[in-house]
Amino acid sequence: MSPAAAAQFPGAGIEARFRLAWPGFALEAALQLPGRGVSALFGHSGSGKTTLLRCLAGLERATDGYLAVRGEVWQDDARGVFVPTHRRPLGYVFQEASLFPHLSVRRNLEFGLKRVAAAERRVSLDHAIALLGIEPLLGRMPERLSGGERQRVAIARALATSPRLLLMDEPLAALDAQRKAEILPYLERLHGELEIPVVYVSHAPEEVARLADHVVLLRDGRVLASGAIDEVMPRLDLPFAHDEEAFVVVDARVAGRDERFALTRLEFGGLPLWITGLDAPLGAQVRARVLARDVSLALAERHESSILNVLPARVVSLDDASPGRTLVRLDVGDHALLARITTRSAVQMGIAPGMDLFAQVKGVALLR
C-alpha cells in the first residue's frame, strides 16, 4: 500500500490486503476503498471479484490477509487476528437470494435483526421494509415470491442488521432485465439514503455506471485499477475505454429546463449539457452517461449543426481502439470525456495531445 493510497481515505475507509492460492487460481489483491458510497468490483468471471468479496466477509480465509473497515481491524494475520463472519457487522447479499425456505419473509428479516444488540441497531426494520417496498410480502413464504421480490427481501434482511459494510455479490445477475429494472431504483435509494459503504460485485458496465462511485477493476486475481468512477472509466490504458459500449459518467446538477422543447439543462464544471425530457427536478444531483461512440470532434464550434451539445475540449491523449478507429481522451472543463472516431478523421484533422477543439455530444443518457 503506497503512502499516498493509504492517505486516500484516512480512518474512514476500507483497507484490504489478501493473498490466497488455489489450484488454478490465485488472488493477490491490495486495495483502498472509500468509507462511503458504492465501490464496484468489476471484472470478467474468474477475475476473482467474488472471491475478494468473500474475503472481505471472512467467508474465505485468505492467508497473509489484512482488513480494516473504518478503523476496525477484522483481519490481521500478522497479529493472528481473524474476526469470524458472524462477528463482523456486515451485510451480505448473495447472487441468488438465499432466503431461508423454512421461514416467512418476516422471520427471514428478523433472523439477523434479533441477533444484533439493541444498542447497535441503527436501521429499523420498518425502514428497511419501506426502503425496499416489501411490506405486502411480509406474511409470505419465500417459495411464493418472484426472483426480484426475493432479492429485495434478501437486501432488506441484510440491511436490518445495521451493517457497517454492505457486500453485494451480483445481486441482479440471476434476474432478467425486467426484474433488474425493478430492483435498481431500490439500490439507488439505498445509495442515497443510507450512510453505509457498499462493495458491489458486477460484470455489467450498465450496473456499474448507475451505482458505483468507486471502481476496482480486477483481472486474474489482481487489481488492475482502483479509483473514482470518473477517473477510471476514461483511462485509455484500461479495457473499459476499449469496450464497444465504452462510456464515461458525468455527475451533474439539474440547472434549468426548456418547457417548450422539453429539454433539461444539466450543469457540470460550469458547462451546460442538454438532455431531452423533463424528468429530473430542478436542483437535483444526477448522473449522466456519455458513450464514446456518441462523441464526435470538430475543429470549429458550429452552431448550425443539429447536435445539441457542443463543448470546448482539449485533447489529452489518443489510442488506437481497433483497426480504423481511434479513441481520444478529452478534458471538458474539469471532466474527462471519451470520443471514438475513425482513424482517418483523426489523421486528417491532425488531432494531437494538447489540441483545443470541440466535442459534439450526440446522446446523453440520464442514469439516475
Binding site: L59, H86, Y92, F111, R115, A158
Partner: protein, 223 residues
C-alpha cells in the same frame, strides 16, 4: 392369539427400539454432520465403519460384541471397572448392540440431508450474525427435518427387525432381552406355528405401514 410372553416381547421390542432411536439421533447427528462437512482424510474410514453393519451378517456383529463386552473383552473390562458389570444378557447390552447395528440407518439419511442443505444457508446465517451452534439449531435442523424423520423411522424399524445381534448377546431373558424376532424364532423352533403367525404377521404389517408412510411422505411431501 398372543400370550402374555408375546405381549411382553412386543413391549420390550418397542422399548428397545425407542431407546435405541433416541440414542442414535443424539450420537448420529454429530457423526453425520462431521461426515457431511469434513475434508479430513479419516472421512472415508469413518464412513466405512458406520456402513459396516449394512454388509456384515448380524451374527458377526453379535459374535464380536459378545467377545468385546464379555469379561475378557476390552469393553467388558471397562464396564466392569466402572462398576456397571457386564453388558451381555442385559437390556443395556441390547441397546449397545442395536445402536451399532442400526447406526447406518440413522447416520446415512442424516448425512444426505445435511449434504443436501449445502454451504450457502450456513454462509447466509453467518452473515446474519449466527454462530456455528446457533446456525445448526436455527437453520440446519429445520432444513434437515425430513432427514431426521427418515432417520428416526428407519432406525426404529430396523431395530424392531433386529434378530441376529440380539440372539448372540441377549440370552433370551423374558422382559429383558427376549424381543419379538427371538420370540418368533422360538415359536417356529418349538413348532408353535400359530403363535409364530400372529407375531410374524404383526411384523409384516408394522414394517409395511412404516415403509408406506415413509414413501407416501416422500412422494407428496417435499414442501
Amino acid at each position: 392369539m398372543m400370550s402374555a410372553a408375546d405381549l411382553a416381547a412386543i413391549r420390550l421390542t418397542l422399548e428397545l427400539a425407542a431407546v435405541t432411536t433416541a440414542i442414535l439421533l443424539v450420537i448420529g447427528t454429530p457423526v453425520a454432520w462431521w461426515l457431511a462437512r469434513t475434508r479430513s482424510a479419516f472421512r472415508g474410514a469413518v464412513g466405512a465403519v458406520v456402513a459396516l453393519p449394512l454388509v456384515l451378517p448380524p451374527t458377526v456383529i453379535g459374535f464380536y460384541l459378545l467377545l468385546l463386552m464379555g469379561p475378557h473383552g476390552p469393553v467388558g473390562q471397562f464396564t466392569q471397572a466402572l462398576g456397571l458389570g457386564l453388558l451381555p444378557f442385559s437390556f443395556a447390552g441390547l441397546v449397545v448392540g442395536s445402536v451399532f447395528y442400526s447406526l447406518p440407518f440413522v447416520v446415512q439419511p442424516l448425512q444426505q440431508a445435511f449434504e443436501a442443505i449445502g454451504e450457502r444457508p450456513l454462509e447466509v446465517a453467518a452473515t446474519l450474525r449466527a454462530g456455528a451452534l446457533d446456525t445448526f439449531f436455527s437453520v440446519v435442523l429445520p432444513l434437515a427435518r425430513p432427514g431426521f424423520v427418515t432417520a428416526a423411522v428407519l432406525g426404529f424399524a430396523h431395530t424392531v427387525g433386529e434378530f441376529g445381534v440380539v440372539l448372540m448377546i441377549g440370552g433370551n431373558i423374558p422382559e429383558k432381552t427376549r424381543v419379538v424376532s427371538v420370540q418368533i424364532y422360538d415359536h417356529v423352533e418349538a413348532l408353535e406355528y400359530a403363535q409364530a403367525h400372529w407375531l410374524s404377521a404383526g411384523m409384516v404389517v408394522f414394517s409395511f405401514l412404516v415403509l408406506f408412510l415413509l414413501h407416501s411422505r416422500k412422494r407428496g411431501g417435499v414442501r
